[in-house]
Symmetry: C2
Subunit: 271 residues, 2 copies
Amino acid sequence: MNEIKHIIAVASGKGGVGKSTTAVNIALALAARGLEVGLLDADIYGPSQQLMLGVADGVRPEQQDGQYLIPIQAHGLKTMSMGYLVNERTPMVWRGPMAGGALAQMLEQTLWGKLDFLVIDMPPGTGDIQLTLSQKANVAGAVIVTTPQDIALMDAQKGIEMFRKVDIPILGIVENMAVHICSNCGHAEHIFGAEGGRRIAAEYGVALLGSLPLAMSIREQTDSGRPTVVAEPDSAVSAIFLEIADAIRATLAAGGEGVVREFPAINISDD
Amino acid sequence: MNEIKHIIAVASGKGGVGKSTTAVNIALALAARGLEVGLLDADIYGPSQQLMLGVADGVRPEQQDGQYLIPIQAHGLKTMSMGYLVNERTPMVWRGPMAGGALAQMLEQTLWGKLDFLVIDMPPGTGDIQLTLSQKANVAGAVIVTTPQDIALMDAQKGIEMFRKVDIPILGIVENMAVHICSNCGHAEHIFGAEGGRRIAAEYGVALLGSLPLAMSIREQTDSGRPTVVAEPDSAVSAIFLEIADAIRATLAAGGEGVVREFPAINISDD
């Protein structure tokens, strides 16, 4: 019943680097190009897409034939998340195999219909859920999100190596929180270090898909349920997400991993 | 062979909030008070304490009697981490129960000797490893680290509820990345929102142990293997970690959860 052209995983070795924010904005950028896009929140321990998509607490997906789930429409995306299925305050204290089973169920029993892209917002790390995903889903490629500091890069390397071990191509790196622009004086500060994303991309011979600033606007828009690509479609930040989406499409059309390409210097003003 | 007075867990519902940085600085602050302190890096999927402690890559703990591990001394702490036992680039693609087993082994087979405190840097989330810890270790209490934005708080709530479910008292909340001070103009910007830590502490009736700034110095010191309490013992940031350590000791001495207390206004200058 489902016809999905490309499944892509948005992943990070480490949590807190903005993976979910990046995943939802990439999905919205693909949709802004006129494509049919689904978004699966696979972070079943800490699902955050419901809040980011502005889906009201308590909204539950309808069922069909007692076994299928109808995805929730949000900002033009078809979305599914463990957040829709459990109380937001209840922790998911599950053993790994159970968690993997829940993900497989959400992936396979959701009526996605025809999609050009299904974007999977992966849980951080290199554990059970990633194993299950690699076994169950025919993932066309992975996008690795990282911040530029050494400790995040170390975990990003592990993410890259894990996907390569299970033969999932790396579409490229997204560097997040690359530079903070003071909203008062415009001073650019590399709070989390500089150039880390570019360095790791070069080291592994994969593309740096984009480099995003540490901007209060992105966090505020995300927290309020209207991600940047929807809230400020003409902003510099949205332009970066659209470029990332286009690069992903081009790489998949060419077949294979994202190759190293020259990436323009960061030129962001925080508004 | 081990005599450990208090085991405390430093945890977060969400990754990337500065849990490991907080854990190592709390351990160092307790040591600065003249106590014997151990630090167990329980984030076996993404161990970062080796880098934060400045322990050279390739250093391996010595074994005793073929089954015990001698902890690695670093900045006066006795430390153990999966980072000492595996190659830093190798991802830990393990099933949950195996991961839990590795943690139990590191906890029980390390020759900690006599300790006043063993600080456990927990992996983020509410999965297997937390379950195993609650089953194996006699944890005296948990410190929950969070950033102030809504999405992090949602996960912090889950962390609190998980520990309460397994009857581990909450010693309090540490709010991290609370405010960024521009190094150029001194402008204070609440990039990740304001007052979130205080709000969640009040909601659950637990203590706000401290509120730390988003400062480049903390990230740089951490990445270079000399955490702030060691690198700048007289700084405002170190003073906050010492206060947190003292509050933890006081709470444990009184027996029970950290109670709500008035916390002084944040007054940090980034140097």
